[in-house]
């Protein structure tokens, strides 16, 4: 992939450092008067999720990372690999447990997810922003009790546990924001 110079570094650009793909979050050009200029760059490792600060000598280059994001449909998992398919090309990819570590508790078969591919291999799966899931287990809660805003825990069909209001019952469908893990509303079938 093409090389990028520090003056092309900006939020969203993906580069390779030490063999790993990073997303640039911030790039600050700094120069002590009449001295060597540097770029202080904040970057996120796309494999580990860790954010680090790195200072580059200004004018240096980094190799661009072949990272793409594609919408793909979740098919199934066999415990070790999670299978996704691009609905237009029928192209299939397999993501390992690391890539689905956040998504696996939200996704049902046929959900459309954003798959991040590095050199064609999935490294991270982002679930849809909102999912609708059935509650498989929750206590009845006290009818009509709207006081004490704590709510109650509910286990969803994917295994995820979220806090829901007391009036929501087992078997009902709920909408959840996957970015925060929070209950949004009930869903009428």
């Amino acid at each position: 992939m093409a090389n990028f110079s520090t003056n092309e570094f900006k939020g969203g650009l993906k580069i390779i450092l030490d063999g790993q793909p990073y997303n640039i979050l911030e790039n600050e050009y700094v120069k002590p008067g009449k001295g060597q200029a540097f770029n202080r760059v904040r970057i996120r490792n796309l494999l580990t999720g860790r954010v680090i600060d790195k200072t580059f000598k200004s004018g240096d280059t980094a190799e661009g990372a072949d990272v793409q994001e594609m919408d793909m449909q979740y098919l199934y998992n066999d415990g070790e690999q999670w299978h996704f398919m691009a609905s237009e090309t029928f192209e299939q990819v397999q993501a390992d447990a690391n890539a689905v570590i956040d998504a696996k508790k939200w996704i049902k078969e046929q959900d459309v997810c954003t798959v991040m591919l590095w050199n064609g291999s999935p490294i991270n799966i982002a679930p849809p922003n909102f999912v609708t899931l059935a509650i498989t287990e929750t206590d009845p809660g006290v009818r009509g009790d709207t006081s004490g805003g704590g709510g109650k825990p509910a286990t969803l069909e994917t295994g995820a546990v979220v806090r829901v209001p007391l009036f929501v019952q087992q078997g009902e469908l709920v909408k959840v924001d996957t970015r925060t893990g929070e209950y949004v509303s009930r869903v009428k079938e």
Binding site: P32, G35, A37, F38, K54, T55, K57, T61
Partner: protein, 309 residues
């Protein structure tokens, strides 16, 4: 618009300051057939001409012709990235005081900043600290004694993660430490003058020896709120030494595969003819305006920063 009106007021205040001190305002060309071989400065070129990175050379030619103390407010151009504190085209105030040295000039510089940043600076609280003391105080390192390996060890110890295509030399490593560990601590709530730079960072400043025998440049940088606002020195008046420094810069450029810059022979001739003892300083007016208005970036106070020019 607030920034535009404030800039007009800033320019007026600067002119009033010098008018009352009888310093003459001058205009010198932005274009020159020559440039500055400083390997860290990259000039714009227009056909066979260079756009100046500072009005220093023609102003010194005026001084050598007997102009007396002079100042200029002009745009300067540097091929640098745009950043929070950088725009490739920016406003410079540069002035030279006939008969002063860097210490006497620093007093006047403090007075100017106290006038421009009137609610923010107390003249009685100005701090002056040497490059060596600043390093010792904030990092425990002696910049004159520490080896490049020692500097790299320090950087790793404080968790500064850096990357460079070539091995960084001693000066670049000192710059890296200055940037990360020292600059943010300078000028906190008051003006700080950082003085007596290592001789390698002398640029066009006169050299002197400290009581410890270290060669230092009679140079100062002014910091406020961690931001570098001005750079000044006792001017080097020795033509031979200046010629040698230019030659050293050209060699450094060649070693880094940078283009050679034609040296300003007319400037050197003026030094040969005799530059009066003087001290000069260059101030980044956009940064001063930014601080005056309590803004966070140059882009907020420049009418059309380079990405919208």
């Amino acid at each position: 618009m607030e920034a535009i009106r404030a800039r007009a007021q800033l320019l007026r205040s600067v002119r009033d300051f010098f008018y009352s001190r009888e310093v003459l305002e001058v205009e010198t060309p932005i274009l020159s057939c020559a440039g500055l071989p400083d390997p860290h400065l990259h000039s714009f070129q227009a056909n066979s001409f260079f756009l100046h990175t500072s009005p220093e050379f023609p102003m010194k030619r005026l001084l050598a012709s007997g102009s007396g103390s002079i100042y200029q407010i002009c745009k300067v151009f540097r091929q640098e990235e745009q950043g929070r504190l950088h725009n490739p085209e920016f406003s410079m105030l540069e002035w030279y005081r006939d008969g002063y040295d860097y210490r006497s000039l620093m007093k006047e510089v403090a007075q100017l900043f106290a006038a421009l940043l009137v609610d923010q600076i107390e003249l009685s609280a100005v701090e002056t600290i040497s490059y060596q003391d600043a390093f010792l105080q904030h990092t425990g390192i002696d910049p004159f004694a520490e080896t490049p390996d020692g500097l790299m060890e320090y950087l790793r110890a404080v968790g500064i993660d850096w990357q460079a295509s070539v091995e960084l030399d001693r000066q670049a490593l000192l710059d890296l430490i200055l940037l990360h560990q020292i600059e943010p601590k300078l000028g906190k709530g008051r003006l700080t003058f950082l003085i007596d730079y290592p001789a390698e960072q002398a640029a066009l400043a006169r050299l002197a020896q400290t009581s410890q025998g270290h060669w230092i440049a009679e140079r100062f940088e002014v910091y406020f709120q961690g931001i570098d606002l001005a750079n000044g020195y006792t001017e080097l008046a020795n033509a031979d030494e200046q010629r040698q420094r230019f030659a050293a810069d050209q060699r450094y450029r060649a070693a880094q595969s940078l283009v050679q810059i034609p040296v300003d022979q007319r400037f050197l001739a003026a030094l040969e003819a005799g530059l009066p003892a003087c001290a000069g300083v260059a101030v980044g007016l956009d940064r001063v305006l930014m601080l005056q208005l309590h803004k966070q970036s140059l882009a907020e106070v420049i009418a059309f920063p380079v990405d919208r020019a």
